[in-house]
Amino acid sequence: MFWFRKKSIIIFMLLPTLTLYVLYMIIPIIMSLFFSFTGYSGIGKIDFSGLENYIKMLRDPLFFNSLKNTFIILGFAFFILLPCAFLLSLLLNKKMKGINIAKSLIFSPAIIAPIIVGLIWTFILDPYKGLLNMFLERVGLDFLALQWIGGKTLSPYSMGVVYTWQNLGFITIIFIAGLKIIPKEINEASMIDGATPRQELFYITIPLLKETFIINIVLIVAGSFKIFEIIVQLTGGGPNYLSESLITYMYFITFQQSQYGYGMVIAIVTFLISIIFFSFYLIIIMRRDKE
């Protein structure tokens, strides 16, 4: 293929992709890093402030509260979403009538705009006029009608519920894809050897799904660090920034307070955390690539 071994043609064909990618993905990261060392506020010259913003972060209780909220959502997703999705995948992997309709309905929240997901759930969780509390009061469970959103404590847990609802089908589908790869012969062999269904689950299915579990954990972690629209809709970070997550707090500091330098510090921290988790995912892809 002599005609496209020419260097100039190769470069010409790669140029549009590389230009856009570098301009909008790589340079912005360098810019964020740069701004995080400045006290830039949109007006006047860009002045260097060294590590001042980083020290400010370590002294900012709202930052740590946002970090805590992010980890509450993450923990909720890890301990509720992951096991539920796994169990659901075992159930939906069976051959049944109408199973495909069930699958696509359970999956549907994952493709709806997150901003609409937030909208629907605001009208469900609102403590005064929401559907949930209206329901609880009707059936006489008034004492359970708590301040799901907008109060001091429950908001991040409610966000965890919404996030779980939104991603249950998605994570389940990935588990099902993993289950499909397990060769049928292995299950049959274990049956013949007299393994009980429970033994089969713990000694065969789960160990063989190791990679799928890792991918789903990475997805859940990366996903919980990206929850933005749900928080914007449910509480807007309030009251008094108590329900902010890392990124909504970053957005508030950057775009509402115009503290660009400080905002970029929080962005960088979020970036580093997600890079760490994401490298696991990349390693899996690279390993697959070699095979």
């Binding site: 293929m1 005609w3 190769i10 064909m13 790669l14 549009p16 992709t17 590389l18 990618y21 301009l23 909008y24 993905m25 340079i27 912005p28 990261i29 810019m31 964020s32 701004f35 159930l91 939906l92 049944m96 199973i99 069930a102 696509s104 309905l105 999956f107 929240p109 493709i111 709806i112 705009a113 609409i116 629907i120 759930w121 009208f123 469900i124 559907l131 329901f135 609802w165 589908i173 990935i174 299950n187 990206k226 933005f228 629209e229 809709q233 970053m250 957005y251 950057t254 775009f255 970029m264 962005a267 979020t270 970036f271 890079i275 994401f278 490298s279 995912y281 990349l282 892809i285 690279m286």
Partner: protein, 283 residues
């Protein structure tokens, strides 16, 4: 061999029954929020409060009329499509060409470039928001469609590259070499030989990016301030917690935004699920 034949029939029937019931209950629980929203959109405001759980007594479209009067939903759709179409068109073309080069031609930096592009999957959009806002202001494109189209294409590159190269690497070189001997040029190799075979992958990429751009909010809210340019996602925020305005109209507006997406899901489920499980990570 029927592996569960040793289980007595009655027990088998019981387990099957239990399985069906659990699938139905779980499916119902997941869909309650949608169903509730759709039912409410046909109820009057009074009925929503007095009868929040039941089916609407009469199906009235009054809420839809008032929703379309209060919110310019057709305009949001129009703006979204003005952004979606060029993003999908140019994004798919440029990543197809670059992936073609990266997977078909072995040159010194092809592996490095491939991983350079793929590693973009790890970049959360939130670290990019302010720099892109800053650049857009400098380029004087803030509040223009192009301000969103360019980053949307850039953000779709890692995922599209992953899928395209994944497919193209398995493409038999012999076919292409035979085509060259027959005198095919680069362009006709792409359009006449590779493109027809790669159609399902392209469809997966198109649908995946369509959903991404359609649902995208953080960049849109950062780069678009003019209400006349609002996308569907931005339009939906106008409704946030507006109990003071018409409850039913909000439900109607929400329903008219999610129905098209549910229809897309119904018809193109296979490609959507393929895209989400293949790349599994994005945005």
């Amino acid at each position: 061999m029927d592996s569960i034949s040793y289980i007595p029939k009655a027990r088998k029937f019981f387990w099957n029954f239990l399985k069906y019931i659990s699938v139905i209950v779980i499916t119902f629980m997941v869909t309650i929020p949608f169903l509730w929203m759709m039912f409410s959109s046909f109820k009057t405001d009074v009925e929503i409060l007095t009868n929040p759980f039941g089916l609407p007594e009469t199906f009235s479209f009054g809420n839809y009329i008032s929703a379309f009067q209060k919110l310019n939903i057709p305009l949001f759709y129009k703006n979204t499509f003005i952004i979606v179409l060029p993003t999908l068109f140019f994004g798919t073309i440029i990543t197809f060409i670059s992936s073609f080069v990266l997977s078909m031609i072995k040159f010194k930096y092809s592996k490095v470039l491939y991983f350079f592009l793929i590693s973009g999957l790890a970049i959360p959009v939130f670290i990019l928001l302010f720099p892109i806002f800053f650049l857009s202001a400098k380029f004087k494109i803030y509040n223009l469609y192009i301000a969103l189209i360019l980053p949307y294409i850039a953000i779709s590159i890692p995922f599209s590259t992953l899928l395209f190269t994944g497919f193209l690497r398995g493409f038999p070189q012999e076919i292409i070499e035979a085509a060259i001997i027959d005198g095919c040029g680069l362009f006709s190799i792409c359009t006449k030989i590779v493109l027809p075979i790669i159609k399902p992958t392209i469809l997966t990429i198109l649908i995946f990016n369509l959903l991404y751009v359609w649902n995208e909010y953080p960049l849109a809210v950062t780069l678009i301030g003019d209400k006349n340019l609002f996308t569907i996602s931005l339009g939906a925020t106008i409704l946030r917690g507006r109990w003071d305005i018409d409850y039913g109209a909000i439900m109607a507006a929400g329903t008219s935004i999610i129905i098209p997406q549910l229809i897309i899901l119904m018809f193109l489920q296979k490609y959507i699920i393929e895209g989400m499980t293949a790349g599994a990570v994005k945005g």
